[in-house]
Symmetry: C2
Subunit: 400 residues, 2 copies
């Protein structure tokens, strides 16, 4: 008999069925036991007529053959009667977290330590199914706009963003680093495909442990050529983010306003504070683009506003009070790169391969990057980005 999934039970009412899954919960009364079986599709109630109690630990892997019977009281309206149980795998002991509660009750550190089991909680599991849907929506949006997916190397000879916060790697006895972003490679690939994107890990040796930073996270990157200015980039980023919000079951706002940095900054800081970000969203909407950041706080490859060179063509997108996207137009002329590196006191040698792309003709271009876990935490209103990460990495956590 073919296995069916728990979600398919109602279509098999009155028939003999075969289910497979985990013992999610057990309730033993005097003459009957109720088992709840969990599989990837949902839960099913199994009614066992048994005088003697079943010695099954939670998370026992079971195969069950029985009859699907309509019962309005059962979850899903159908339960399984006259079951024959077969144990496929026995746990060694009681799990360290309770999976049958409506919401996980253990502390975050406890659940992270026990991630292989804690991730099985249906509520937690569904978060990561939504993560997959969000990534799919990102790719589908960009595929539809003629972008090509690339994979760039994660071991690099030079730090991308700055010398700080980079992880050294022992590369056959030589020094190398983990890539902080695919920035140089996605720009280089604009010379090849005009429009590219990448979904992959990036590494930041963040010295601080906060609720919104990870040392390794998944970056959704895009870059496009032949733009007029950063507004062409904003249009693509906005479309991708709206599609992702929709994919996780939230409603993307109809309006995504673009506000000016100078109009929303507080004080003289050249960047927005966390409180500024929250205020901008309170005042302007769930999803807001901020443009016109000062050049001082943007990376060397940022394109300055020709009318006001202290101002950049960089932008951020804020979602529910937190920056989730950073992007902008980039420099594209070789001489501009040479001047920008010199102005920041950076030598050209570590950037040689990158500079080659501009030496041989690159169109005006720009792009953006979105942190996947941070986006998911905002979309699902999770207080800590680690709630949206399968196996988080930070300065104190390298396991499991």
């Amino acid at each position: 008999m073919e296995r069916i999934l728990t979600a398919e039970l109602p279509a098999h009412t009155g028939q003999r069925v075969r289910l497979q899954g985990w013992l999610h919960r057990k309730r033993e009364l005097s003459r009957v036991s109720f088992l709840v079986l969990r599989d990837r599709a949902g839960l099913a109630q199994i009614v066992v007529d048994a005088a003697e109690p079943l010695s099954l630990l939670p998370e026992t892997v079971l195969e069950i053959e029985g009859v699907a019977v309509s019962n309005a009281q059962a979850p899903g309206g159908v339960e399984v009667h006259e079951p024959a149980l077969r144990v496929l795998a026995e746990p060694a002991e009681q799990p360290p977290v309770e999976l049958h509660r409506p919401e996980p009750k253990e502390s975050l550190p406890t659940r992270l330590d026990a991630a292989p089991i804690a991730l099985r909680h249906p509520v937690v599991r569904e978060r990561f199914r939504k993560t997959a849907a969000a990534v799919h929506a990102f790719r589908a949006t960009l595929d539809g706009l003629g972008f090509v997916e690339i994979q760039s190397p994660k071991i690099v000879a030079a730090a991308t963003e700055s010398g700080a916060s980079v992880f050294p790697v022992d590369w056959f006895g030589r020094g190398a680093y983990l890539a902080q972003s695919p920035q140089f490679y996605k720009q280089t690939m604009v010379g090849v495909f005009e429009r590219v994107y990448e979904v992959g890990p990036v590494f930041r040796a963040e010295p601080h442990e906060t609720a919104r930073h990870l040392a390794e996270y998944v970056s959704l990157d895009a870059e496009l050529g032949f733009i007029e200015d950063h507004h062409d980039v904003i249009a693509v980023a906005r479309g991708a983010v709206r599609a992702m919000i929709d994919a996780v079951g939230e409603t993307p706002p109809d309006e995504v306003p673009i506000v000016d940095f100078d109009a929303v900054r507080s004080g003289d800081e050249p960047d927005l504070s966390p409180e500024d970000e929250r205020r901008v969203c309170r005042e302007h909407g769930e999803l807001v683009v901020v443009e016109g950041f000062p050049m001082a706080k943007r990376p060397f490859y940022t394109y300055p506003d020709p009318k006001n060179p202290a101002r950049s063509r960089g932008f951020d997108i804020l979602y529910r009070g937190l920056e989730i996207v950073t992007g902008g137009q980039r420099l594209h002329r070789y001489e501009d790169y040479r001047h920008a590196l010199a102005a920041r006191g950076l030598g050209e040698e570590p950037f040689a391969g990158y500079l080659d792309a501009f030496r041989y003709g690159m169109p005006p271009h720009g792009g953006f990057a979105l942190g996947l876990e941070r986006f998911m935490a905002q979309a699902l209103r999770l207080a800590n980005v680690r709630e949206a990460t399968l196996f988080p990495r930070d300065r104190n956590r390298l396991l499991p």
Copy 2:
């Protein structure tokens, strides 16, 4: 005027059009010049009536407005007349590789050194467009079978496959490693989603530089639970590989035979030699599954054949004479893992998080891994896996 792509020219015959791209080639006659403009969609011929020669370097980024005119001699049957040229970016010098030849003529090392430019060659570029199509086909096949995409960490506390050939990372002053595969994580996630896949980088400190090994490559991984044996895994792997072959424009074979290791081995070696792999494909077909490998050459998590414990439920898939997929059924009982680690003299401590997944109930499961660049090299009949890698990494190459 909206920019159109070169491939859209025929639909605009007789109209004024705006094109953007790179100067791919230039041919100057006494009273007329022919420019070939390259964009992401193709090539277009531009006819310039000019007495004086155009001082434009190859790869100059151009915007061209002119009239689309039918001409059977022109590539694509349409060319652009009366062009107004605008330079969007000037190269600093002549490129180090010739992009206008039908095939790249420079040596592989020269092209790898100049990758940012060499990848612009239309023939080379199309390889990587096909790579994106292959990855898309892999994901679409597995999505259709109820698999969920995951992202697992690439910085890990313990080596997955063996202590050798692993890259050490300085993790905030502590020792860590780059993941050699997502093996432990994808197995763990079978406990959550039953069926998972991942597309991501893996790292092997390969001491040898061969035409088919890289130190960093893209691994396409899948893992599924509630299997009967490794044949359920083979069925999924075969479907994914066939879809990928189709996606790159090759014809997947109708028959994918499964042959037994003992029937195709040469001599007493517990593994197939490269010559064995070529012979198996000569004798059995382009795409062949080999099963029944000895346990001795498979990793500790491999499930032994219950009828013959020296024989494993591991398999390889060979494509045109080279192994492109390795897979098999895995152990799923906690006690089996403890015994398997002890039998290989491995301690349990480095595997603690991984073992937790089995301690709390895991179904019979298995999976497979496919090296993307190696698959592409075979599919496109490239002699070196580096021809199918944007920016290869090996013991001698860390740039660009």
